[in-house]
Structures are given as structure tokens and as C-alpha cells.
Symmetry: C2
DNA sequence: TCACAGGGTGACCGATTGGTCACCTTCCGA
DNA sequence: TCGGAAGGTGACCAATCGGTCACCCTGTGA
């Protein structure tokens, strides 16, 4: 059985690495955040780098579950109003779940310093979300909601503006409401441009 | 007259801060990169933080020139083929100019650690480029190349997919060619979707 | 009862870092 | 001619960081 402390260390490590970067984070602060002494960390991990690697392992496993087996794909909406609601629900979750926010920050700030983070960043920011919407659009085309075209290209075009607004949310949280309004108006624009009008 | 050394220090600081972050960059390496001793730096700047601030000052001034007075806007193209060429030329420049690449990396990796970087990042990644294309689309609407609609929204939708591919270029330079191919095919898709067909 | 493993502590170590200081060289104007 | 400012050097300092070590406490199975 896994020691719960071992997992708690990773939780706190995510917070610190996301806030201060790998180099900036220090083990004393990490230990203090858990109510431990620094040397106690070494009972669970052999070095700072080992903690870092374990954290990345956990993240990789998470993405493998999330994007690999697409068992928890959102169900294909029957209308554009349904699509809007599905999209906004996913966006809201991704913007407000603290762990996902921290993960995004870590991927952004460390993408040039670590090869694994680099790969994960591309998976998260590009392939992952676009892949989900690609499946979704494919289903909507089958239902006749959407003109038949390359679903991957459409998902790419749909996804990146939203990602840009999510990044803005992360960077300037005080503008979150403005961001959501822009997302709503972007959604109406996108729907207006793509709703099938035969 | 400004000491040239003072500027050279900022040039090298951009390289190091972009590569290793503010905390990760160290003054000995900076000095060595310039063929100086570390203490010589203190004849020009009073601290590491002062170098950092001077670098941000220079970046802010650059953006003020770049995006403030829009005197060097690209001229409005007369055809969609002209638009494609203008866009690809700007993209190529932005991806290949080493200083701009470094600036992007610095903005990305330090956006959560410094309030000024945060503001500059939004200006660079969102408002700046979108603003340019907004003007450009406005001109193309006047020429009848493009259906009249909100040019800002159109620029936002056009710009963010390209930014995403540029980020991919920065992150995984070995995939640069693939990125350019995707940009080309994105451009044809965009043009096909928006070229006025009355 | 006792040996011992798991988990925790605090003192300590060496390396690195930003910063200071005394000193040195060159050049230029009074 | 000379005094001082500009620019550069290397030795040094204090703080911080990752990591180690001897030691401690507690529960558990033989």
C-alpha cells in the first residue's frame, strides 16, 4: 500500500513547482507546507529530482487516462445550444479546478527546461483538447448539425481561441469574468458561422 | 551617450533569463558570456534585479513602438494570395528572429512571477498581434475582399491558431517544418472559409 | 520481551549565489 | 603634469540550498 505521505508530498510539490518553478522551489518550504521536517522527505524520495520525476509520472498517468482511453468523452449534443452548454461546462471546470490550473502553470513555465514537460505541454495544449472536440464535431456532423469537413482542422480552429482565453484567465485571474464573457461571445460567433444552414 | 556595455549586458541577460528564468540565471555566467568579471556588472547596474528591470524597460519601449504608433503596419493586400504572403512573411519573421523567440520564451516562463511580464505577455500574445490583423481585416473589408463583420473577433479567431503553432515551434524546434506545413494548410482553410463569395 | 522496520527530527556540510570592497588601469580635461 | 572619473579585477562574505547523518519514537511480529 502506498504511503499517503508520499502522495501528499506530490500534492504540495505541484503547488510549489507551479508557483516557483523547479529551481525556485525549495525543499524546506515543501516540508514546512506538510508540517514535516526537510529530512523526512528523504524517507520517501531520494532527491528533489526524484520528487519532480514522480510528479511528472503522475501527470503522465493522468493524461494517459484522460486522453488515451476516451471512455469519458462528453456525449454528442443534439443541438447547438447543447453544444454551447457542454463546451462551457468543460471550460468552467478546466478554469476553476485548482489542480488543473496549477498543472497548466507548471507546463507553461517549465516547458523549456524539461523534455518530458515539453511533450506533456504539447499533449495538453494542442493534441488533447483538440482531439476531444474532433470526436465531438465528428459526431455532430453525423447528426447533420454541422457541414461535413475535416473535424481535426475544425477542432483546432475552435480550440485555440478558447485556450488563449484560458491562458489569460490563468495569467490575470482578476479578469476572469471578462474572459468568460469573451468566451460566450466567441461561442455565439463560432456557432453562427458553423451552424448548418442548408 | 549610453555605454555600449550597458546594452550588451541586456542582450546577454535576455539570453540567460529566457533560457534559465530569473532565478535560474546567475551573474557569473552572465559576466562570463560577455568576457567580463562579475563585479564589472555592478559598474553598470546596481543589482540583478536592476538588470531585470532594465531589460523589461527595453521590452516595454519596444512594444510601445511596435504596437502603439502603428506606423509600420503591413499594407493592405489586394488579394487573398497577397494576404497569404503577408501573413506567412510576418510569421516566418516572428518564428526565426532569435531575439523575438527569446522574448516569447521569457514572457511565457516568467508570466506568473512578475507583474510587468504578465502585462507584457497579454499585450504580446493577445492584444498586439490581434490588433494588427484587426486593422488589416478592416482594410480588406473596405476593399470588398471580406464580408463585413467585427474585425476584432475575426482577428482573434485568425490569430490564436497561429499563435498556438508558433508556441509549438518554440517548444519543439525539431518540428518546425511540420508547423509551417500546418500553418499553410490552416491559411488555405481560413481563406476558403472567408473569401467573399457573394 | 525484544529486535527491528517505518517514519520523523535537528544539526551539520559543501556548493552556489548575489553582493561588497580594495585595488588597478586608462584616458581626459584643468 | 596631475587628479579624478569610468570601467574592470579578484578575493571575500553571508545567505540559501540540496543532501547526509546520528539519533529518536512507535507499533508489530517472533
Amino acid at each position: 500500500m502506498e504511503t499517503p505521505t508520499k502522495e501528499r508530498i506530490l500534492d504540495e510539490a505541484l503547488v510549489l513547482f507551479a508557483r516557483q518553478g523547479y529551481r525556485g522551489a525549495n525543499l524546506r518550504e515543501l516540508a514546512a507546507g506538510l508540517g514535516l521536517s526537510k529530512s523526512a522527505l528523504y524517507k520517501h524520495y531520494e532527491s528533489k529530482e526524484a520528487i519532480w520525476n514522480a510528479l511528472l509520472d503522475r501527470m503522465e498517468a493522468y493524461y494517459a487516462r484522460q486522453f488515451g482511453a476516451m471512455d469519458h468523452l462528453p456525449e454528442i449534443p443534439d443541438s447547438w445550444e447543447g453544444f454551447r452548454q457542454t463546451a462551457m461546462r468543460m471550460i468552467r471546470f478546466t478554469v476553476q479546478d485548482p489542480r488543473i490550473v496549477l498543472t497548466r502553470k507548471l507546463l507553461l513555465t517549465e516547458q523549456f527546461h524539461d523534455a518530458r514537460v515539453c511533450r506533456l505541454a504539447t499533449k495538453h495544449f494542442l493534441e488533447g483538447t483538440a482531439g476531444i472536440y474532433s470526436k465531438l464535431f465528428e459526431g455532430m456532423m453525423a447528426k447533420g448539425l454541422l457541414r461535413r469537413e475535416d473535424p481535426a482542422m475544425l477542432a483546432f480552429c475552435f480550440t485555440t481561441p478558447i485556450s488563449a482565453l484560458i491562458h489569460l484567465c490563468d495569467r490575470e485571474p482578476e479578469r476572469q469574468q471578462e474572459c468568460f464573457e469573451r468566451m460566450e461571445s466567441y461561442l455565439t460567433y463560432f456557432i453562427g458561422a458553423h451552424a448548418a444552414t442548408p
